[in-house]
Amino acid sequence: MFWITAGFVVGAAANITHLLFAGDWDFWTDWKDRQWWMTITPFATIIIPSALQYIQWRAWRFPTGATYTAVCLFFCTWIGRLVQWKFFINMPINFVWSATWIPAGIITDYVLLKSRSFILTSLIGSATWTMAFWMSNYIMLLPFLQPTKFMDHTLTVADVQGISYIRAQTPEYLRVIEHGSLRTFLQETQYVSLAFGTTLCVFGYWVGQFIGRRLSVWPIFRYLKQY
């Protein structure tokens, strides 16, 4: 019952962290790019799972913190998408669908279970978090990256969605996506971004560990005694 109740707090915390750092890239299919979306999002979304991993692992030896946060984030994000995007302004869901972190959470928790070390989880788990995030979401994104002809231009289906479903006062130049320089690496933007995203994710993991160790509920008594 405690974890069901806490789900709203955890989901909201994860969602807010995600929206603050990487919300824009996750809002629309045409902003889900191969450079910024996968670089920033894993960093932004590992913070709260890392804190929860610390709490659940230290308290009960449950290697479930990342999965638990990912499931909470899933429900909270979808409440937002359905109420705000679909119900209020009637954007089609296949344009504003949310990414998923559940596969990434399961694999990262598995790393903690096997390694029993936060340091190793921060190094290996951050990589699996980033890779699994990309791979699990790429399956959903792929149909929207197919080329099509629209207004005499060759665009992706995602671009057509972004143009057709009008986002008032949100021209396409507002998105900071896919600048060309990374294409010099054999034109494989996503692999460079994944490597960079993994490095950022390690940093994000330790931000989460700091939150878990200093600000979480479980060690609060120790924290209060100390001060």
Binding site: V83, F87, F88, I89, N90, M91, P92, F150, M151, D152, H153, L155, D159, I163, S164, Y165, I166, A168, Q169, T170, P171, E172, Y173, H179
Partner: protein
């Protein structure tokens, strides 16, 4: 027990209020709240025409007209001279789908290069999607800085 009933009632009231907030008709979306220099010195619009005002779902409507980037363009916007412009419509949510947009007769799915003093004929074809009475009109969104180019 009484406390739980009270909380449930408050939650129900909140949900009811949220439901009532859904937009069915919007008569404006803050045009007159803009600063005077934005409204009077940035763009001039003329001959703006709507091909229809009553549509059934999937009907097309064309919004056409001419806009000029005025020589009085304020110095505090887009570094005093917009380089990238974007013509679109404002509407309360995705009530219409944009199926075609032409600037000076050329297809323009996204933004285009523009300059101070430039005159642009625009035509945007919209397809009716969501039943209701909607406040729709053309608008422009020049890049805030000249360096914002792709």
């Amino acid at each position: 027990m009484r406390r739980w009933i009270l909380m449930a009632l408050v939650a129900l009231l909140g949900a009811a209020a949220m439901t009532g907030l859904r937009t069915h008709s919007v008569s404006a979306h803050g045009e007159t709240a803009q600063e005077g220099f934005v409204r009077m010195e940035a763009l001039g619009w003329w001959d703006v025409k709507f091909s229809k005002s009553d549509l059934t779902q999937n009907d097309n409507m064309t919004v056409s007209g001419t806009a000029k980037i005025l020589e009085t363009w304020p110095s505090n916007m887009s570094d005093g001279a917009p380089k990238i412009c974007y013509f679109t419509v404002v509407e309360p949510g995705a009530r219409f789908v944009l199926v075609d947009r032409k600037i000076n007769g050329m297809p323009a799915p996204q933004s285009f290069f523009c300059s101070k003093g430039g005159v642009y004929n625009f035509s945007m074809t919209l397809r009716a999607r969501d039943p209701g009475s909607w406040h729709v009109h053309p608008t422009s969104a020049p890049a805030p800085r000249a360096s914002a180019s792709r």
